[in-house]
């Protein structure tokens, strides 16, 4: 390619020309224009003239930043530009580099020397350019190579440079942790003074550092405290508060000292940002200080009263932080919270919804839900689903802890399903099935609700609700004995519009229909046995009930006709098993069995209906549907022999065949009526491994997979409807397996196979039926609401004043809710925050602080149920104890020069407290110092450990580490 001509250089278009050019283009021609410019740039950038080159680079940088044009190909040209002696070229080059270079840019190492040169330059602006660039693109190698230069600049006489050098330190520490040893002392020194621009930079750096590993910065607390008290700069104060939020949980004595100055700021300052930071600090870290909380609440109230949506949002947000422990704050602002539900801003609405749900308790739940569901009807689809979602999640917390009247709740679920915008089919599905299994007393109502859902033709059209319908179908099949009219259910399950359902759900429908059929035939046989004794009684009974049956029958036929499907003559509705509505349908005893009289003809009709619907499906392309249809049809063939033409049959034959059929039916029926219990997600683990079972390698792998899978939150039991299998227990466990090992479909199928083979080792469902009272409810730490008893009491108290008219209706005792021992699941979940902590700084703590870690981190866990009052004390003691232990263990090793330094200013304060806290105060001062010294040591080591690929050139315990606290 020809080198750029002189003409190119002379008539090069500048950046301004390009910007104007792009502005004048239509959006359609813009692309063409830009690509032409890029071509131009490609030519110009190869020029030997640095002016031309840098202008080309400048244009490219602009296009990259605004029009997303790739500029990685020009990285070498950018390096050429920064090596220019002219400042303006350098400037363009550095901008291009900081914008386009990443760790993977191949030529990035080439800039190392140039950067070093510029860092040493006498021109402060060149230095500043290089520092800025390093802070943006610093890689491990660059940071290692340039750490010493940056260190020198940290003591530059020019504030402008010093400030930037401090800014770079953060990058240095992140990429090259060993730099800590060189720079840390300088950094701490820079904290001197309280209002210089340097301090604001340093505090920013410490704020970021302490977010990653707060414990290491605990010894600096006195410095930060001084800044908190002295500084007048709001930016700095906010950052210092952020640091203290991180430090406070680690050292209980800090809070006592901090509360006063923070409250002081809150009272005096006019800056809303500082007030808010104080509020946030108090509500997250100083929840035990009543007066501070009161003050924070008052300030929040001020925020809420303002017209500014920003303050309102932040106020609500702050309250929601308080809510779990201090519900009074929510109740005090109830008016604003409720009002905000109809705010214009979806974010504010969401916050207030969270708060409304936080206020929900046993006594006001019904009212709250009623209001919210009505409100959801009027809301936009997104918010509607937010409302529904939060109702569902609140109600199912801790195994439906807040719900007393399950009949009400089940009907609420039904109501929610009918909200047109509802997309929560899956959640409702889970809860319908879960409640069905757990709460025996609610089953009649549940079946009624499920029936209503099934016969509602509108729901079938909404794909979001299909899962919900599958739950309804399963409930109807499983608890058919509570149904008043099984035939009606059967028709609903077999209605032609079920073709709208996905095949997996259709199979549930078919299976449920099969269950209902078995139930009907079974009760027919039972009845027949009785009939021999009371034949005469029957006919009159039927006459009576006919009239009541007529209504439902007709309605049903009507709906069938609407859909253009009516398999029977309308007069057949007289043949329906008549069910007398006794008015007390909820009286739990199987209404159907006792009250109805199931006729031979109605069974025949059922069989005909099923055959009519299922026959075409036996040729379905979907294997599941096909198989199910064939199974049912095959069974029906067997049964039909008996029912087909009773007139022709001979008495002798009848007896024999009927015996066979009735026995078959009984077997299947027994299989179906076996109670399904909820299965704990940890059930699999509790099954002892039998001796003769040889675990092959692939199976041990599976175990690892299953063990590592994160458990779903307790309460959300893995109960999906049993799509597969004739044995119900088996199928639930099957699904369990699916959920457990979701990440790997391969393992699922293997697991299923394994389970099929070893079905024997399943927990029988009866084992799980543990009365609720014997076990505490599963602890659900993810729930921030109503977890501790204290809160509940508060709610009750507050409710008496707020919603006194609504007394909890205890007319009906709360039914037994089957719960499982969640002993294994609970600790796993509560451990989560701890784990995160471990990742960040676990290593250093293990060595350094031994048992203290455990105490502190478990106490740091906000959802810890242990009483918050005890917390402070226990931690205090632990801390001191562990220090003592350390002192005993470590004293001999610590005869290094650094322990002979003059005392740190802050130590005085700590010292006096320590001696107060414990009797044997002697030797404690030393401990304190060693402690902090060790923290420094280990900090350095820990950091270097974070970076696995870094060259390890540090001897682990280097005695020559400068003492940063001097």
């Amino acid at each position: 390619m020809a080198s750029p001509s002189l003409m190119d250089t002379l008539f090069q278009r500048g950046l301004d020309d390009i910007i104007k050019g792009v502005r004048h283009q239509q959006s359609s021609t813009e692309c063409i224009f830009i690509s032409r410019v890029i071509e131009e740039i490609r030519r110009e950038i190869k020029s030997t003239d640095l002016q031309t080159k840098s202008t080309a680079l400048q244009k490219l940088t602009y296009l990259n930043s605004i029009h997303f044009i790739d500029m990685s190909w020009a990285s070498f040209h950018a390096i050429e530009c920064i090596s220019s002696p002219t400042f303006s070229h350098k400037k363009i080059g550095y901008l291009a580099i900081s914008q386009s270079f990443s760790e993977s840019t191949p030529v990035i190492l080439l800039i190392s020397n140039q950067l070093r040169k510029d860092l040493k330059s006498g021109n402060e602006f060149e230095v500043s350019l290089a520092l800025d660039c390093l802070s943006r693109i610093g890689t491990v190698d660059l940071c290692r190579d340039l750490a010493s230069e940056v260190f020198i600049l940290m003591s530059s006489s020019k504030v402008f440079i010093r400030k930037k050098a401090i800014g770079v330190v953060l990058k240095l520490f992140e990429k090259y942790p060993d730099a800590v040893r060189v720079c840390f002392k300088k950094l701490v020194e820079s904290l001197e003074g309280s209002d210089s621009p340097i301090v604001s930079a340093v505090v920013g750096v410490f704020c970021e550092l302490s977010a990653k590993d707060p414990r290491s910065y605990l010894p600096l607390a006195p410095e930060f405290y001084r800044i908190l008290v002295d500084s007048k700069n709001n930016w700095v104060l906010i950052k210092v508060l952020k640091i203290f939020v991180k430090l406070a949980p680690l050292e209980p004595r800090l809070a006592k000292r901090l509360v006063e100055p923070i409250c002081d700021h809150m009272r005096k300052t006019g800056a809303k940002s500082l007030v808010f930071e104080c509020i946030r600090t108090v509500v997250t870290s100083f929840t035990e200080y009543e007066s501070a909380m009161k003050l924070a609440a008052a300030k929040i109230r001020e925020f809420l009263m303002e017209d500014d949506p920003n303050l309102k949002y932040l106020g609500l947000h702050a309250i929601s932080i308080m809510a779990p422990k201090h519900l009074w704050a929510v109740l005090e602002n109830k008016d604003v919270v409720i009002q905000s539900l109809s705010d214009e801003d979806p974010n504010i609405k969401l916050e207030s919804l969270r708060l409304v749900m936080a206020m929900a308790s046993e006594s006001n739940l019904m009212e709250t839900c009623r209001v919210l569901v009505n409100y959801a009807l009027k809301s936009d689809p997104d918010f509607c689903n937010e409302i529904l979602g939060s109702i569902l999640s609140t109600c199912c917390q801790n195994v439906y802890e807040v719900i007393i009247d399950f009949d009400w709740y089940v009907s609420l679920l039904g109501e929610m399903s009918r909200i047109p915008n509802c997309k929560k089919g899956e959640e409702i599905e889970n809860q319908l099935i879960d409640i069905g299994m757990r709460v025996k007393d609610v089953r009649p109502e549940l079946v009624r609700i499920a029936r209503d859902l099934l016969i509602d033709p509108a729901l079938l059209g909404n794909p979001f609700l299909h899962r919900l319908l599958s739950a309804a179908a399963w409930v109807c099949g499983e608890y058919v004995e509570f149904s008043r009219n099984p035939v009606e259910l059967m028709e609903a399950l077999l209605q032609p519009r079920t073709s709208l359902l996905p095949s997996s759900i259709r199979t549930v429908y078919m299976q449920s229909a099969f269950k209902i059929l078995i139930f009907c035939i079974h009760s027919y046989f039972l009845q027949k046995e009785d009939m021999t004794s009371e034949v005469s009684d029957l006919s009159s009974k039927r006459e009576c009930s006919e009239s009541s049956d007529l209504a439902t029958g007709k309605a049903l036929v009507q709906s069938d006709q609407d859909e253009g499907f009516n398999p029977r003559e309308s007069n057949q509705s007289y043949e329906y098993p008549s069910v007398v509505d006794t008015g007390d349908g909820q009286s739990s005893t199987p209404t159907f069995m006792e009250k109805k009289s199931l006729m031979h003809e109605s069974i025949v009709n059922l069989l005909n209906l099923m055959e009519l619907v299922l026959s075409p499906l036996s040729g379905s392309l979907d294997v599941e549907i096909q198989e199910r249809a064939c199974n049912v049809l095959g069974f029906m063939e067997l049964v039909q022999q008996e029912f087909s033409n009773p007139l022709i049959r001979k008495e002798a034959n009848l007896d024999r065949e009927e015996v066979i059929v009735s026995r078959v039916v009984e077997w299947v029926h027994d299989g179906f009526t076996e109670e399904l219990g909820p299965v704990s997600v940890t059930a699999q683990d509790r099954v002892p491994i039998p001796d003769e079972l040889v675990l092959k390698e692939n199976l041990t792998d599976l175990e690892a997979i299953c063990g590592g899978v994160e458990l779903p939150a307790p309460g959300s039991f893995s109960l999906t409807s049993p799509y597969y299998g004739e044995s119900a227990v088996f199928s639930v466990s099957n699904l369990q397996a699916e959920e457990d090992s979701e990440p790997s479909t391969e393992s699922t199928s293997l697991l299923t196979e394994h389970r099929k083979r070893h079905e024997l080792y399943y927990l029988p469902s009866e084992k799980n039926k543990i009365p609720a009272n014997d076990y505490p409810p599963a602890n659900d730490p993810s729930s921030s609401i109503n977890t501790n008893d204290a809160t509940e009491d508060l709610v009750k108290l507050a409710d008496q004043s707020l919603v006194s008219k609504r007394k909890p209706n205890h007319a009906k005792p709360r039914p037994v809710v089957v719960k499982l021992e969640e002993g294994e699941a609970a600790p796993v979940v509560s451990k989560k925050p701890e784990l995160k902590d471990d990742l960040l700084s676990g290593a250093i703590h293990d060595i350094l602080l031994g048992n203290e870690v455990k105490a502190a981190s478990s106490q740091g866990n906000p959802s810890d149920k242990s009483s918050s009052k005890r917390k402070g004390k226990a931690k205090h003691v632990d801390l001191l104890d562990s220090k003592e232990n350390l002192a005993v263990g470590e004293q001999p090793n610590h005869e290094n020069p650094s322990s002979r330094r003059s005392k740190h200013r802050g130590d005085g304060k700590q010292k006096s407290k320590k001696s107060k806290g414990k009797k044997n105060g002697d030797g404690r001062e030393d401990d304190g110092e060693k402690e902090s010294q060790k923290i420094r040591d280990h900090h350095g080591r820990h950091k270097s450990r974070q970076r696995a690929d870094a060259p390890i050139n540090v001897v682990p315990q280097t005695p020559d580490i400068p003492d940063y606290l001097l």
Partner: protein
């Protein structure tokens, strides 16, 4: 990292300035800016200036035809960021004299330098207008 990125976007949703404090590829940037612009520009004056997005927050403020959007970590002080945006605008005002979209377009480099003075590694390091502007003015004089 406190601040993750700073964007200036006009009413039509065109990016006028983009400064990132973490490395994103061009595609990621394009997607991110598209999502954010769609989310924020649809909001009106009566709504609050904070939007949760992915795992962080966006604090934004509108000045005439220009939106200033700052992506921050969740524990960052929203009001302080609003003040930061205002400080940025005031600084630009002082330099350009009633800053407008065109000023930023044609002096993108300068805008970047101002940001570099104010923010390093996502931390706000300088909040004094004269401190921010003095090196830029000096550079202007020398060149």
């Amino acid at each position: 990292m406190g601040i993750r990125f700073i964007l200036m976007v006009n009413k039509q949703g065109q990016t006028r300035l983009a400064q990132y404090y973490e490395w994103l590829t061009l595609e990621e940037r394009r997607a991110l800016e598209g999502e954010i612009v769609r989310k924020c520009l649809a909001r009106n004056d009566q709504q609050c200036s904070f939007v949760e997005h992915r795992n962080y927050k966006i604090v934004y403020r509108r000045y005439a035809s220009l939106f200033f959007l700052v992506g921050v970590d969740n524990d960052e002080n929203e009001l302080a960021i609003l003040e930061f945006i205002h400080l940025l605008v005031e600084t630009m005002d002082r330099h350009f004299g009633n800053v407008c979209e065109l000023d930023i377009m044609f002096h993108l480099e300068k805008a970047h330098f101002m940001l570099e003075e104010m923010v390093m590694n996502g931390c706000i390091v300088e909040t004094s207008k004269s401190n921010i502007l003095s090196p830029i003015q000096l550079m202007d004089k020398t060149s």
